[in-house]
């Protein structure tokens, strides 16, 4: 009996050793990605199921394996609630051997999950959240802020609009952290470019009826009405702005507008609006090719968030391959070392603060007459180089070398 027990113990120990050494290469024998996104709430159209499809495409295009081990994609709906996001993340990390979480789409869920991942030394690949403190005072060593942030959106639209003559601004801001951050960043850029803020109003989040605020905007006489909000708020504001004749004398600047928003508004209502984007499906041959493949599976053209999920995962897989392991520290180092050059971004670089600095594009929404085929919505006016689009690393982030 004692001998059997001892043999069992030795075998068990050996098994652990073998498993342990294999783990030094790819933990648990699988590279598991968790796409944690908003499947049913306000962001489900710009991310949601589309992000999951993008992730699956990345896994397939990479060959389904990294360093000989399979890639597995799992997904879940955080319903835009920080507590649900954080408990799903915990469960994934503790019980399901998830190595990295992608998407997250909203800043509040991202800020809830980032510390959980950092504590457990797993990676978060954000595509969708916009809050600048994510790469600033809230930065973690295991986080990549990939697609855009509010400063990049503000810099593009704000600066260019001022340069084309839109000097006086009035803000309609969604009264929550994201809206205020968007307004603050745009104000900085507008003032630096020589513009002037003549007024603003904070609308509760969410709001359906903007008539009162639009009236105040009209009363201010500003040339540009900046919409520091997103999603349904922006759509309603634009629709009603048209209704109240605001667009006849003033111009709208949508500070955070996605392709899905323009699609649901229709070109007749959205035409002429300036916006900044990290990605447009019809920009060049490479982006067209990828987007058409995406369209076959999702039946809608990709937003920058969804394209960002694909690109960040490909970069992650490349980093694992280059590092020879999926150990979080080594992979993060490789992700910062290797540049990003694909259909999504040219000359993209992930900094010590986790922020992916890449070129952004200033676009204008076409009018119905200018649009020649379905989803032909934007004309790309200008490429904004990464150095202008994003700020220098924020010293509030402890990872940034002083």
């Amino acid at each position: 009996m004692a001998r059997i027990k001892r043999n069992l113990a030795v075998t068990a120990a050996l098994a652990f050793c073998v498993a342990g050494s294999a783990a030094a290469q790819i933990s648990d024998g699988v590279v598991k990605i968790g796409v944690l996104t908003d499947m049913t709430g306000a962001y489900s159209d710009l991310a949601g199921p589309g992000s999951v499809i993008a992730a699956q495409m990345a896994a397939e295009d990479f060959g389904g394996k990294v360093l000989g081990k399979p890639i597995v994609i799992v997904s879940a709906d955080h319903q835009n609630k920080a507590d649900i996001a954080s408990s799903i993340a915990r469960k994934w990390f503790d019980e399901q051997q998830v190595d990295a979480i992608a998407d997250l789409v909203s800043s509040s869920t991202a800020l809830a999950v980032m510390p959980v991942a950092a504590e457990k030394k797993r990676i978060t690949l954000l595509s969708g959240p916009g809050s600048t403190p994510i790469a600033g005072e809230k930065c973690t060593p295991y986080n990549v802020h990939y697609t855009y942030n509010t400063y990049a959106m503000a810099a593009g639209t704000g600066r260019t609009v001022v340069q084309t003559g839109g000097k006086t601004w009035f803000f309609i801001t969604a009264d929550y952290v994201f809206g205020k951050s968007l307004e603050a960043d745009t104000t900085k850029v507008v003032v630096a470019a020589g513009g002037k803020i003549v007024g603003g109003v904070k609308a509760p989040f969410p709001t359906t009826d903007f008539s009162s605020y639009l009236l105040q905007a009209q009363g201010s006489g500003a040339q540009i009405v900046g919409l520091a909000n997103a999603g349904a708020d922006t759509i309603n504001a634009i629709k009603q702005a048209n209704e109240f004749g605001l667009t006849k004398k003033q111009n709208l600047a949508g500070l955070l507008v996605f392709l899905s928003d323009v699609h649901s508004l229709g070109l007749a209502t959205a035409k002429g609006m300036y916006l900044t984007t990290a990605f447009y499906w019809d920009r060049d041959e490479a982006s067209r090719k990828w987007s058409k493949r995406f369209f076959e599976r999702h039946k809608k053209m990709p937003t920058m968030v969804q394209a960002g999920v694909y690109s960040e995962l490909m970069h992650y897989f490349e980093a694992i391959k280059a590092a020879g392991t999926d150990d979080a520290d080594k992979v993060m180092a490789k992700m910062r070392e290797l540049p990003v050059n694909d259909f999504f971004a040219k000359n993209g670089r992930i900094g010590a603060d986790g922020l992916h600095r890449h070129d952004m594009y200033l676009a204008q929404v076409k009018s119905p007459e200018e649009s020649k085929h379905p989803w032909d919505y934007y004309k790309i006016l200008k490429t904004i180089p990464a150095a202008d689009a994003f700020e220098a690393p924020d010293p509030a982030c402890p990872l940034v070398k002083k």
Binding site: P206, G219, A232, F244, S264
Partner: protein
């Protein structure tokens, strides 16, 4: 300053008349059936979507939708009342509330699955496009139309319920349905039609709203809390109460949006709490 204020007050009145129209169905169903119809918001959403689907799949325009949509949703309401709500007759009104709450979740979930969340655009009908410059603001023609229709429908409903024989039967049914039935009136049928009428009113408001707000599956839950507050403040069961309160709330909200916008969401609940503490049955309500 006067200019800006007049503009805000006018917008407040426009919104107020819309609130009045929206609250009408809920007030009628509670007043006559003693049921708190939590599905009201979902029926409003249903109205907007049916109008949108009619346009996109059948080419049926706004004017026809105004008539057809309430009929469709009203019919669905009658079916729901016959199959489900009737079973709760006589029980604590809590159950009616919970049942309709469940219905709201089901309807919203189905439409969310089918249409996503960003919603769809419904165009303003040609005849009502454009606006008039009043000097202190541009008044969109469609919004003026909304005020006209709301006031007409509110008045018509009030007239039917308070001044006609049918209305008298309905009110009698609330007081003592057994006695009314003894007089030969088909009370169950009357109740079904009442519920259907309330749902139809909600759907009608939805069609009116479609050209202004995006047609999204969650447009109902965005509005249901305010509607409840309006009906409660006005006095649950008083048609006049909810009309007057709707208008009043529009004005109060408009002023708040001008003076301190972040509070515009919550001002209705503050008013509600105050009113209920001072006048327990609402402004125009009758103590039951």
């Amino acid at each position: 300053m006067i200019q800006v204020l007049s503009g805000q007050l006018l917008i407040g009145l426009i919104n107020g008349s819309f609130y009045a129209l929206l609250s009408l169905g809920l007030a009628i169903i509670f007043g006559l059936l003693n049921v708190v119809n939590f599905a009201h918001g979902a029926q409003y959403m249903l109205g907007a979507f049916v109008a949108w689907m009619a346009l996109h799949y059948c080419g049926i325009g706004y004017w026809w939708a105004l008539i057809l949509t309430p009929l469709v949703v009203g019919l669905l309401g009658i079916v729901f009342e016959r199959l489900c709500l009737r079973r709760l007759h006589g029980l604590d009104p809590l159950y009616g509330l919970l049942l309709t709450f469940g219905l709201a979740l089901v309807l919203e979930g189905i439409f969310q699955n089918a249409f996503g969340i960003s919603g769809n655009s419904y165009p303003v009908p040609e005849a009502l496009q454009g606006g008039t410059n009043l000097g202190f603001m541009v008044l969109p023609r469609y919004r003026a139309w909304v005020v006209l229709v709301s006031m007409t429908v509110c008045f018509a409903s009030w007239f039917v319920i308070e001044k006609t024989r049918l209305g008298a039967y309905l009110r009698a049914g609330t007081e003592n349905s057994a006695l009314l039935q003894a007089f030969g009136v088909n009370v169950p049928l009357m109740f079904s039609i009442t519920y259907g009428f309330g749902a139809a009113l909600a759907a009608f408001a939805g069609v009116m709203a479609a050209p202004i707000y995006q047609v999204t599956p969650l447009m109902g839950s965005g509005v249901i809390m305010v509607v409840f507050a309006v009906v409660v403040i006005g006095g649950m069961g008083s048609i006049v109460g909810s009309i007057v309160t709707g208008l009043g709330l529009g004005l109060v909200e408009g002023l708040t949006k001008f003076l301190y916008p972040p509070a515009s969401d919550v001002v209705v609940f503050v008013v509600m709490a105050l009113v209920l503490l001072l006048r327990p049955a609402g402004l125009f309500g009758r103590q039951r």
